[in-house]
């Protein structure tokens, strides 16, 4: 009876998780912007907006005011989109300037942006209606690079629910402060190692299997949390730091792919790597502190949770892990796009 109820909770959570991505997926095709620096301060711009049922999406590309067109923009009508090419000169370069997508806020379209600069940096990013612009990061000094990549690291860990969920799972397993310290340190050391190895190009993990494996690591923690909750024991519960280290190696590869896809300055690579890792640590420690504070706050407020609610975090970790595993394996197998 009891077991069946737990299955119910798990099923509901999987169903809920299946719902989540449909919130973020849009049915319209994205717009596309490509900026390529061909010589200093001289850029080629390709701007494609989708056309839906003969209607062009009302998005206007607004380059910084310093941008001067070298050649008149040429427009080309394709079946489903409008292609606009132009060549611009920006006094002082695009670095540190902002490209706006006027009108994007009113749509549900995303813009894929690809930037390639002459100093060797290139990156792709997605601009969403909630923040309808991109800031081109300038070719900064050391401090600027550090700032940019620390912020990038923080953003990556806080906005990547899979890493946070794994950390949450670890938090639910560890019993005392000493063990917490050991576990989090092990996770940090492990992902720092693989992040460095992968970013410096000594090793490489293919993205799709990697994502599936990361999902699997989260799924793995689910049953362990339930065991803790039932008062049982296992190797993971006795030595969570070993598990944290092993899976930390995996997550490090994940961080590395995020870092490289963000574009790396080839001349400041180690420095950017270090800053990114520091940012990841800041985000991670901040999350751990927030969870511990919340837990303490609940005790101060003398909240007595119903048993179902107490079990919820464990099931959330397990169910989302299961969902992502299935989804990513399906993508890997080519069943899903």
């Amino acid at each position: 009876m009891k077991a069946s109820r737990h299955w119910c909770v798990a099923l509901i959570m999987i169903a809920g998780a299946a719902f989540v991505p449909s919130c973020t997926a849009h049915e319209t095709r994205p717009a596309y912007l490509e900026i390529k620096e061909i010589s200093p301060d001289h850029y080629d711009v390709v701007w494609r907006t989708p056309v839906n049922a003969g209607m062009r999406l009302p998005i206007v590309l607004q380059l910084p005011p310093e941008a001067k067109s070298v050649t008149a923009p040429t427009t080309q009508e394709l079946t489903d989109s409008l292609l606009e090419r132009r060549s611009i000169v920006v006094a002082g370069g695009l670095g540190g300037k902002r490209v706006d997508f006027v009108g994007l806020q009113g749509t549900i379209t995303d813009v894929l942006v690809r930037v390639q600069l002459i100093d060797g940096r290139s990156w792709s990013t997605i601009v969403r209606p909630s923040q309808a612009w991109i800031d081109i990061t300038p070719n900064q000094g050391r401090l600027g690079v550090a700032g940019t990549y620390v912020a990038h690291g923080i953003r990556h860990i806080l906005f990547g629910p899979d890493h946070l969920l794994f950390v949450l799972g670890l938090l639910l397993i560890v019993k005392n402060r000493w063990m917490l310290l050991k576990t989090i340190t092990a996770f940090t050391v492990a992902h720092s190692i693989t992040l460095a190895i992968a970013t410096l190009g000594y090793a490489n993990a293919p993205t799709l299997p990697l994502n599936a494996a990361i999902a699997l690591s989260i799924l793995f923690l689910g049953p362990e949390i339930v065991k803790v909750w039932r008062g049982e024991s296992s190797f993971t519960i006795r030595h969570p730091w070993v598990v944290a280290f092993a899976f930390g190696l995996l997550h490090g590869f994940g961080f590395a792919s995020a870092l490289t896809s963000a574009g790396l300055p080839s001349n400041e690579l180690p420095w950017a790597l270090l800053s990114f890792n520091v940012g990841v640590e800041i985000g991670q420690v901040g999350f751990v502190i927030l969870i511990l504070l919340l837990e303490r706050a609940f005790r101060v407020l003398e909240i007595r949770w119903p048993r179902v609610v107490e079990a919820l975090p464990g099931y959330a970790v397990g169910s989302l892990g299961a969902f992502w595993t299935i989804q990513r394996v399906a993508i890997l197998a080519g069943v899903m796009r």
């Binding site: 973020t24 549900i108 909630s130 927030l290 504070l293 919340l294 706050a297 609940f298 407020l301 909240i303």
Partner: protein
Amino acid sequence: MYDGLLHFLLSPEDIVPVVALALLAGLRGPEYGRRALFLLPVSWFVGCFLGTMFQWATSWPVAAISFLIFGGLVAANAQLSLRAMTVLAGLLGLVHGWMNGAGVPWSFSLVGAYAGLVAGVFVVVALVSAFVIRLRPPWTRIAVRVAGSWIVATGLLLLGWSARRG
């Protein structure tokens, strides 16, 4: 989800009354803290949907009024009954949630945004009220009341701004 959370954390006109309510509940003790913790997010969530549904926003300076009421109660260290607190928390959530919801066009991703917003409310109330409950030395409780008076002062100035604009 993150949009909602960020929006809340970057909107002082929403976060300050929430903090004020949490301070008030914290001064009164765990029972009040629990009530605020569970009631406020729920009423806020409901308010969001009502606002989105009716698409109507009052021109009243809602934020300033909330600042005055909740800041004033904190500064006065008001000995509210649990029932009065319940009503106040419910109203605060409904009204501010409504203001958040009004003017936002309906879309499916809104559910996620509102969930993020409400999660932010929940976390702020939990942390702030527990922090105040844990305060032991008497002068620290006075510091909480001073914070309440700052909120009132900000509310008064805000009222002045809206009078000037209006």
